[in-house]
């Protein structure tokens, strides 16, 4: 019996563990380390219509139990992702969740329309929460009205279920979640990074060339957990939770507050084998908790 499998709109997951977008590229590097077919799914790097070079370096900085990044959605662009990256990923038996980004509604819609036709793309993750780009990204993610409209348009063209990635940099994330649910989102992924800053110690100037960056890693886990808890109460669509996952206990925690699956971001950099390790460790953890199937954990904080 598979004790770990999870069914979500568009996604038949062998287990609830997947690398988070932007922390795994398009899988090529990690494929040299382990068999990607082990993963529940893969959230690929944000794809935009045109290739993007991203922000100038430095793009990352360490913080207490976390890190800041301002990559700026660097990616080879839709054409190349469709022509090279996605076909390459077909060798693995793993569903792909395509992270879709853009500067305008038209961008998002066009990328969604086309990338959703790739055979291994089983769901889209609409990135309305990237804090590191001047246009688009976060503005779509902080205004429920704008978010709703975008999601409606994307839903109209996508061939696969659409998950919306929410930003934690809002007063009420539950309100954002409800807006995208009403707009027809099939699921929610959360959280993207918290906006933060670090300085160069000598000059006092921002260390990251983009001035601010997105905070991720274990430091943000308490905030992410709280937000998943709130959103679980506010909507009926499933949630893929993330933010600082570093251990199998963290996976249990996210699912307890209501996530149906869990993504791992920053910790891939610290331990490149973390995803398969977590998958390996889950059954023993279920035994310890006296639980037969992973699904029983989902939402138990609320019961």
């Amino acid at each position: 019996m598979n004790r770990l499998d999870i069914q979500l709109p568009g996604l038949d997951l062998k287990n609830p563990i997947m690398p988070a977008s932007g922390c795994f590229g398009f899988g090529r590097e990690y494929a040299k380390l382990y068999d990607l077919s082990q993963l529940g799914a893969i959230m690929i790097k944000a794809t935009t219509l045109e290739p993007r070079l991203g922000n100038p370096t430095p793009r990352v900085a360490e913080t207490p139990a976390g890190m800041l990044n301002a990559i700026g959605l660097q990616n080879p662009g839709l054409e190349k992702v469709m022509a090279e990256e996605l076909p390459w990923l077909e060798r693995f038996d793993v569903p792909i969740i395509a992270n879709v980004a853009g500067s305008t509604t038209e961008d998002y819609v066009e990328v969604a329309r086309r990338i959703s036709t790739a055979p291994n793309v089983k769901a889209l993750e609409l990135n309305i929460s990237c804090p590191n780009v001047k246009k688009g990204g976060i503005t779509f993610g902080t205004d429920p009205v704008i978010a709703r409209e975008l999601v409606e348009q994307v839903k109209a063209v996508s061939k696969v279920p659409v998950y919306v990635k929410l930003s934690p940099n809002v007063t009420s994330i539950a309100e954002m979640a409800q807006a995208v649910e009403i707009a027809g989102a099939d699921g929610i992924t959360m959280i993207n990074t918290l906006l933060g800053m670090r300085l160069d110690e000598k000059t006092g100037k921002p260390l990251i060339s983009n001035v601010t960056g997105g905070l991720s890693g274990p430091a943000v886990k308490p905030v992410a957990l709280r937000m998943v808890y709130e959103v679980y109460k506010a909507v009926d669509i499933p949630i893929i939770g993330m933010g600082g996952v570093s251990s199998v206990q963290d996976v249990i925690d996210f699912m307890s507050v209501g996530a149906s699956a869990v993504a791992v971001g920053t910790m891939n950099f610290v331990d490149p084998f973390i995803c398969p390790k977590l998958i390996d460790e889950l059954p023993a953890k279920l035994d310890e908790l006296g639980v037969k199937h992973m699904k029983e954990i989902i939402g138990r904080s609320h019961r």
């Binding site: 590097e29 070079l53 490149p272």
Partner: protein, 257 residues
């Protein structure tokens, strides 16, 4: 192949002010080449969180050991400097593409120019060049004498010049000032150190073949996160490279520095 290994500290000593030499033992040593680096997790705790990229300074394949030389400057390297013999350290590596030793023919001459904490990778490079029968000239720059290291080691391998900002050891000034004065004859140069030095060298020896090793703040260290991008000069196949996986060593002229 890139591997993650818990390696054992077999030696750790301070060889200059805040500069530590640490020797680690483990299997992945067998795959190492000069100019590559390792990505080190200094603690199992969540702070400091990220791995630290450190160059491979020398490789002792028979003993399954390799050595790094690093400056204890921030939180991570300070934790590392407190490790004791027998402690284990989580090492990911070997990473990146190193210096091409085959770029100089037997009997030829290589100029190795290092600045500060860029000096360590040149040591294994020099060893391997010498083993191929290449003559090596070393020009090594440091802030002051107290930060300088490995004089004996480099001197044994070839002509070695020291340069310090204040003249407390060797020549006073920049390495490029000394190079101007020396007017050395060589076939290929290899360099690792601060960007201004690499820039000056690249333009000084425009007509020579040369390789430079770059640094950037890293996330993954394996090419997945796009943290360590560097733009390339026109005419290159791609408009950017990743320092961690395409580098850290690039042929002179490839990347915009």
């Amino acid at each position: 192949m890139i591997q993650q290994e818990r390696m054992t500290v077999v030696c750790q000593r301070e060889i200059a002010k805040n500069i530590f030499e640490m020797t680690l033992q483990g299997q992945i040593v067998q795959e190492m080449t000069p100019g590559q680096f390792v990505h080190i997790r200094v603690s199992n705790l969540l702070e400091p969180l990220l791995r630290r990229p450190i160059s491979i300074a020398s490789i002792q394949k028979e003993a399954n050991e390799f050595t790094i030389i690093y400056r204890a400057q921030g939180r991570g390297t300070n934790v590392l400097s407190q490790k004791q013999i027998g402690d284990e350290v989580d090492v990911l590596g070997p990473l990146g593409n190193g210096f091409p030793v085959e770029a100089v023919d037997k009997g030829g001459t290589a100029l190795l120019v290092g600045g500060g904490i860029g000096v360590p990778p040149l040591y294994e490079l020099s060893k391997q060049l010498n083993a191929r029968g290449v003559r090596t000239i070393h020009v090594l720059g440091f802030q002051t004498e107290e930060f300088a290291f490995y004089e004996e080691e480099f001197t044994q391998l070839g002509e070695t010049y020291y340069v310090t900002d204040d003249g407390s050891k060797g020549f006073k000034g920049f390495v490029t000032d000394l190079l101007d004065e020396l007017q050395l004859d060589f076939d290929v140069f290899y360099s690792c150190g601060p960007l201004p030095m690499l820039r000056a060298l690249s333009s000084m020896y425009e007509d020579k073949k040369g390789y430079i090793s770059l640094e950037e703040r890293m996330g993954c260290g394996i090419g997945a996160c796009f943290a360590c991008i560097c733009e390339t000069n026109e005419g290159q196949e791609k408009n950017y490279v990743k320092i961690c996986s395409d580098g850290p060593v690039f042929e002179k002229g490839v990347v915009k520095i």
